[in-house]
């Protein structure tokens, strides 16, 4: 794991050395601030971040592809992946390192939004439980989106293609719940089950459902496994 940690540290440093990281964090803070203000100035205001968490998942549809698309695709384009593949590093360690870096990047956009939670505690009496579960759910949602983005990035040396592919897949999984209303029977059940927001709602309501936690963890594990397989397959090409 030391090698994976070294890779995660390198990716995180490179990311935060770029102004893009701060532009993304600032944009995320502005968007979340917009939803936060809209929620506390609604006709029936409430001392929670529920009104911010739910629409903010749409921002992840853009965020995850933007930060993950270059992680493996760019390495392939530059040929630098060859240096990692010939280093004493297992393929899963490469994927784990990159994924851990995505976790650090996610914290970079989520932690600043704690300022809104702090404002709630300063001026109202919010229930801490839903705030905690909301953040937990959002982090799981973000990591799931990141895992999918990383897998897309492993498939091609064109980072734009990787970004577009993961954005389309994430948009589908975000809207799958709504699409379920248009069909009936097994397809509707399947779409509801696949919907990312469908497994996120309970977190926002302050409830941690085991099936939702399992869904997100399974989602993450599957896409990291696929990314590892994709790297392994690259060795055979």
């Amino acid at each position: 794991m030391r090698s994976a940690a070294a890779l995660a540290w390198k990716e995180t440093r490179v990311y935060y050395a770029s102004p893009v990281a701060y532009v993304i964090s600032a944009a995320f803070l502005v968007i979340s601030g917009h939803f936060f203000v809209a929620s506390i100035t609604a006709p029936v205001p409430e001392a929670s971040l529920r009104g911010m968490f739910t629409p903010l998942t749409f921002a992840l549809v853009l965020w995850a592809p933007i930060v993950s698309m270059r992680l493996l695709a760019e390495e392939q384009r530059l040929g630098a992946l060859e240096l990692l593949l010939t280093a004493p590093l297992r393929d899963w360690e490469i994927v784990a390192g990159k994924f851990a870096a995505l976790g650090a990047m996610l914290l970079g956009v989520v932690l600043p939004t704690l300022v809104y939670a702090a404002l709630l505690f300063r001026y109202a009496e919010p229930d801490a439980g839903p705030l905690f579960t909301g953040y937990l759910g959002f982090l799981l949602y973000g990591m799931a989106a990141s895992a999918l983005g990383l897998f897309a990035s492993s498939l091609t040396s064109n980072q734009i293609a990787a970004g577009v592919a993961s954005a389309v897949a994430l948009l589908f999984l975000t809207l799958a719940g709504q699409a379920a209303g248009l069909v009936e029977g097994a397809p509707a059940s399947l779409l509801e089950w696949a919907s990312l927001p469908g497994h996120y709602t309970s977190f926002v309501e302050g409830v941690i459902e085991l099936r939702d936690v399992v869904y997100f963890l399974t989602f993450i594990a599957i896409f990291l496994f696929l990314a590892t397989l994709s790297l392994e397959a690259r060795r055979w090409r």
């Binding site: 030391r2 010939t86 004493p88 590093l89 055979w236």
Partner: protein, 248 residues
């Protein structure tokens, strides 16, 4: 140190190398020569653990690539063609990063980074971004990266191909200085360079070994005056052929 026995690699319908065998002993520099598509890079990729052989045996520093690829990779230093390095990292940052990946201890890594930067004339550039270096210095950084962990085996894929003649002369001096107690496998299109640097050469043609021996032995066996003439005679098939041989 390097032992290839009957190496074969198939990519889909294409047979990239077939039955390639040669060896390189400690302190020996072996040149891997051949026209484009003759299987040089594939052979090097197998020996560095980047890709597995379809069949055959590859051993590096006593480690079988099929069963102990990590062990072999730990003992190998590799400079890929055109040194693809991270443009957004500094020279010392790059060395520290790969040293960490290779699990070099903190103190040893710090000492080796300083030694390697000094040995390759990169000390003044230690905080320079790779992307801001000239091609020649980027190549030096690639060399530094390849020997940072003091490998037993060094694999250099066309190290002078994309740099100017002055930088190429510097790179050749570096390769000479790197020999020491290692086995060096060097791929090059520059036959004068091969004659100058290599104790033995292996000429590949259409994925097979067409000739092997000292440059003088290869020339004599081909009835040629020198390695260049011998190479042209032996590699003729490839010059007409193209990339790889198709499976029938």
């Amino acid at each position: 140190m390097i032992e290839a026995v009957g190496l074969t690699k198939v990519y889909g319908e294409t047979l990239a190398v077939r039955g390639v065998g040669f060896s390189a002993a400690q302190g020996e520099t072996v040149g891997l020569l051949g026209a484009n598509g003759s299987g040089k890079t594939t052979t090097m990729r197998i020996l560095t653990g980047a890709t597995p052989a379809t069949s055959g045996t590859a051993r590096v520093a006593g480690c079988d690539l099929a069963t102990n690829s990590l062990g072999a990779r730990r003992r190998t230093g590799y400079l890929p063609e055109s040194a693809p390095l991270y443009a957004d990292m500094t020279v010392s940052g790059l060395l520290r990063f790969f040293g960490s990946i290779r699990r070099m201890g903190k103190e040893r890594l710090a000492a080796r980074v300083d030694e390697t930067l000094d040995a390759f004339g990169l000390t003044a550039y230690r905080n320079t971004l790779i992307g801001k270096l000239s091609k020649g210095y980027r190549q030096r950084a690639g060399f530094a990266l390849a020997v940072l962990h003091e490998p037993d085996v060094l694999v250099l894929d066309e190290p002078t191909a994309s740099i100017d003649p002055v930088q190429a002369a510097e790179a050749r001096a570096l390769i000479r200085s790197l020999r020491g107690s290692r086995a060096v496998l060097l791929s090059t299109h520059d036959l004068a360079e091969a004659e100058d640097l290599c104790d033995r050469v292996v000429i590949l043609r259409e994925g097979t070994v067409a000739a092997e021996g000292t440059p003088q032995e290869v020339a004599a066996a081909a009835g040629a005056a020198n390695l260049q003439e011998a190479f042209l005679a032996l590699a003729q098939g490839d010059a007409r052929g193209g990339k790889g041989a198709d499976f029938a």
